[in-house]
Assembly symmetry: C2
Homo-oligomer: 267 residues x 2
């Protein structure tokens, strides 16, 4: 794994004293969430709540997944100010997002929970090709490897995980208080490290709502696996884009509701 | 229970055909999510993704929890248009929220995920009194009753639940694709039915983030129980307001990180 949860980082969790079920004092680990305000050039875009382990990836991934920059956008600088909890992304060409910011859709997903209306407009143009295969055994192997990796979730709970995988190997494992931060951090990492999406598999602990499917399609990752369930609209969008959508992946169980032709039975 | 999940309502779930882990065709129930656009007087406020079972409660609760109306606001009408997925709340006195809408904080919670900056400013004024007691046995009884109630969660998954309780009795059980819709629907129900919050307990399946704590405090409900975990900022806010915050309530386990003086050991 190139990136995995950094459970030793003392800034990400806090020890708090409380009472357990026997009303005895005990110390537990609790996850930290902090506000991070994002500027694109001169424009304040949003304040996000995040564990703030990768502010640069989060900023770039957020802007990408909100259609505010594209993979072709030339980034001049990314300046992060820890004290002010500010991150400023500067681009060569400037655009005014004031109008776009007015038309927000609050969605059912965790975290950022907003998408611009025009994402839906560009959605129909994307269709995945069929070359990529997913072996059934990979579903089990990926779930097992991810669940056994020491994580902030296992340490403190109250956090979502998203993992970029290739074949049966988890590569980039990101966690955050909102799963949309986790997926945005992966998108930012992929852009900044020029990672190709076409042969990747995306694993998430969160639900497969419309927003998660839209983000995966925007990132051009053709296969999505979740241990959680589906929403009907998420499935509909996945079927439109011919994305492989696998939910309820727990133990030896899973359920495919879209793109099942990519699955190879090697059991 | 005055309101419980309506698992018979055919508009809330959809039967979809997919493949199970044996790659055999099977039909499963999947939750529906729909956009609902909210207007306050002439102003478009937001488009939410919701299961849309109680658009009126959701609209009122959203406006309340975003500080756009108060319990004293005189509502003239609430018009819901099913075909256009529109709901319009009209008030006697009109205000311009254009400025406020510019300053949004996207938070780590599920669903709506937005709070206005000024909610934090009003937060410090609220402090709960100590009269209300919570018997330890109620924590177990509430969890058990809620978990055993037939729900959309048990039927289709991918949904959050919030329950307003009194003593050991669940009263209003709301579910939604975003848990913030579920809590907002409860807030709307409470305002429209003049339910007093001071002696109530709030149960949620979701995590105890800053946003959930802020909403509970705003709704003046002094005790919050969750089967999920905490974030450090959620705990800090709960301690400031002297809210009783109980997380990780599963089986015979739970953990109190704020306001433990309200708990009575009757075991």
């Amino acid at each position: 794994m190139k990136i995995k949860p950094n459970i030793e980082d003392k800034k990400l969790t806090k020890k708090l004293v409380g009472l357990n079920e026997e009303l005895k004092k005990k110390r537990i680990d609790v996850i930290e969430e902090k506000p991070l305000t994002l500027f694109l050039n001169d424009q304040e875009i949003v304040t996000m709540m995040t564990i703030n382990d990768y502010p640069e990836y989060l900023a770039i991934g957020y802007l990408l997944n909100q259609n505010m920059i594209t993979l072709k956008t030339k980034i001049v600088s990314i300046d992060y100010d820890d004290e002010l909890s500010l991150i400023v992304v500067r681009t060569v060409n400037k655009t005014d997002y004031q109008k776009k910011l007015k038309k927000k859709i609050l969605t059912s997903g965790c975290a950022q929970g907003t998408l611009f209306g025009d994402i839906m407009e560009s959605f129909n143009k994307i269709k995945f090709n069929h070359k990529l295969k997913l072996k059934k055994s990979w579903i089990y192997e990926l779930s097992k490897k991810i669940n056994l990796t020491p994580s902030l979730y296992l340490k403190a709970g109250a956090i979502h995980g998203c993992v970029l995988c290739e074949r049966n190997k988890p590569i980039i494992y990101m966690e955050d208080v909102g799963r949309h931060n986790a997926i945005d951090k992966i998108a930012g990492y992929m852009m900044m490290n020029k990672i190709l999406p076409e042969n990747k598999i995306f694993y998430t602990t969160g639900r497969l709502t419309s927003e998660m499917v839209i983000k995966a399609v925007k990132m051009r990752i053709p296969i999505v696996i979740s241990r959680s369930g589906f929403t009907a609209w998420g499935v509909e969008l996945a079927r439109q884009a011919d994305l492989t959508l696998i939910g309820r992946a727990k133990g030896k169980k899973f359920f495919v509701l879209s793109g099942d032709s990519r699955i190879e039975d090697d059991s």
